[in-house]
Amino acid sequence: GSGGAEPGAGDKPYVALVSKGFQHQFWQAVKQGADDAAAELDVEVTFEGPETETEVEKQLTMLQTALDKNPDALGYAALDSEASIPMMTDAESRGIPVIAFDSGVESDVPVTTVSTDNLAASAEAAKHMAELVGSGKIAIVGHDQTSQTGQQRVEGFTQYIEENAPGIEIVDTQFAGGDHLKSADAAKAIMQAHPDLEGIYGTNEGSAIGVVKAVQESGKAGELTVIGFDSGKAQTDAIRDGLMAGAITQDPIKMGYETVKAAVAAINGEELEPVVDSGFYWYDETNIDDEEIAAVLYE
């Protein structure tokens, strides 16, 4: 955040970022990376996003307002590429370079995309689940049924299991909005309905913590393999305490950082790679304190 200072009023270049979310830790980590880059490259950055990843229209309105502020570059993580086409055209006509981040925008306008591959990342989660469980029943607690991210994190996982782990059956997939409490309640209900459950996968921080909570509260700690996504202190603690087998983390800080860096490059008229992959990592008890991993985890 740039505080209340008037963006663009000073001499610093101004980069407006419109993300998919705001208060989730993942997006806060993106923001942190963006702020880091802003400090380093001496630019002004604002960061905004709707409350949930279903609010396509709210995001468009934010995007509109961001454009009206006449930024020097725009970073945009589209909730729905299709819906934002007119805005992209608008940005282009105003000569504002657009950097897509997170999932990319299906349009020629963005000069580059700093992306993360949710399908591949969740397949990685599935791979570890398959290894740890071997065979049996597992379930998924998803965070969002309609957003692209939410769907891909379930899809990538399910696809991998179906194709590579014939002994494993996904008996239930429930969505609980990424709300910790509701995820816990949902996970408990699933465990109740499937007493012989071997593992549960939570698709974001809130879901994963909810699953851990549920396992704890039903006194089944150690009996189930829990795999999470994203980081945050509760998750890293759970991994250290052995409540969670491990989790996938993307590198949101890098994503934010690279987005701003690309924006500055675009402002300066530099050529950019079409895609910058911000990557993802599997982390568990064994590597959680490795330098490389610790750097991408956020509290």
Binding site: E48, V56, T61, D68, E82, T146, Q151
Partner: protein, 331 residues
């Protein structure tokens, strides 16, 4: 007792005085909006820019149309929580009609409106004939509509890219410089205004909200009219759904939750009482504009997002309090 003729003269004078006063009050209702506008114009050079004002109007359109419908229900002393997800269901069904079934544009749009009317009709029947509290009836509808949107769409957006011209419904500019969505909003507001103040539907909505029992005793078929009123409200929900779909050029099944509170807030900020009996469409339009302007202005000023909430909350309190003071003085 004075003679009849003097009495009439006197009462007519009084009536004129009252009429003028009411007009004055409606004009003054703009005050809050004007102050907010003026403030942001000073605070940011980007605010008072036609592109941005257009943005504000566009942001007002969908919630505003929903708020128009909600005004009718609130006028009866009821509440409509189903406008948000109901709108989404209408979007999705418009998508089904146009993109999946390939029906002609007009048919699809009318279909979307019809779904809205159907939602309203069911709300009305539940409230009237099952005697459910409006909060419960429309809360249930809110959930059902949300679920059905997901079921029908298969939890995936439906795109209108292949439906020629659908996006022009909202984005086109019949009046150059003004997106159709805004035009539709204003037209809908005009229709709503006439309906509220000049038709039986509106009159009985206010009458029911003022005293339901007395209205029934006066020979108005309250149950039937409530169904009509909720259905009319549903039509606006349908219109909002169509405009939303056109604006996004897609039907987003996950959308909608939370819009109901915004719509109701716009209505209440506009001076309509949740107890019913008192309602103005102009107020609702202003209320919706105030909400959209506030959000936009704070964003334009790059106030950090977390502070924006705080600011909006405080400004709403101030705006409504100022309105109360103003009315207090006039009464």
């Amino acid at each position: 007792m004075t003679t009849p003729s003097t009495t009439t003269a006197r009462t007519e004078r009084a009536a004129t005085r009252f009429g003028n006063r009411q007009q004055l009050q409606q004009i003054l209702a703009f005050a809050g909006l004007v102050v907010i506008f003026a403030f942001f114009s000073f605070a940011s050079p980007y605010f008072l820019d036609w592109a941005n004002v257009k943005g504000i109007l566009l942001a007002t359109a969908v919630t505003g149309i929903m708020a128009l419908g909600a005004t009718f229900v609130i006028a009866t002393g009821g509440i409509d929580l189903s406008v948000g997800t109901g709108m989404t269901l209408c979007s999705v069904m418009t998508g089904v009609f146009l993109a999946n079934l390939g029906l002609p544009l007009v048919v699809g749009v009318l279909g979307g409106l019809a779904i809205g009317a159907l939602i309203g009709l069911l709300n009305g029947l539940n409230v009237s004939y099952l005697r459910l509290p409006p909060f419960i009836a429309t809360l249930a509808m809110m959930m059902v509509a949300q679920g059905l949107s997901l079921v029908i769409s298969g939890t995936k957006p439906i795109y209108f890219s292949d439906v020629g011209g659908f996006d022009q419904l909202a984005a086109g500019e019949l009046v150059p410089g003004l997106p159709n969505a805004v035009l539709i909003f204003f037209a809908a507001a005009a229709i709503a205004g006439v309906t509220l103040s000049k038709t039986l539907t509106g009159r009985y909505a206010l009458s029911i909200g003022s005293n339901e029992e007395a209205t029934a005793i006066s020979g108005v078929d309250v149950r039937r009219w409530k169904v009509v009123i909720y259905t009319v409200a549903g039509l606006f929900t349908g219109l909002a759904g169509v405009v939303m779909a056109s604006r996004l050029n897609s039907a987003q099944p996950g959308l909608g939750l939370g819009y109901e509170l915004e719509a109701i807030a716009a209505v209440v900020i506009g001076g309509t009482s949740l107890r019913g009996g008192k309602a103005t469409i102009l107020g609702t339009v202003i209320g919706a504009l105030i909400m959209a302007t506030l959000t936009n202005g704070l964003r334009i000023m790059s106030i950090p997002q977390e502070w924006q909430k705080v600011a909006v909350g405080i400004v709403i309190v101030l705006a409504v309090y100022a309105d109360i003071l103003r009315r207090g003085k006039e009464a």
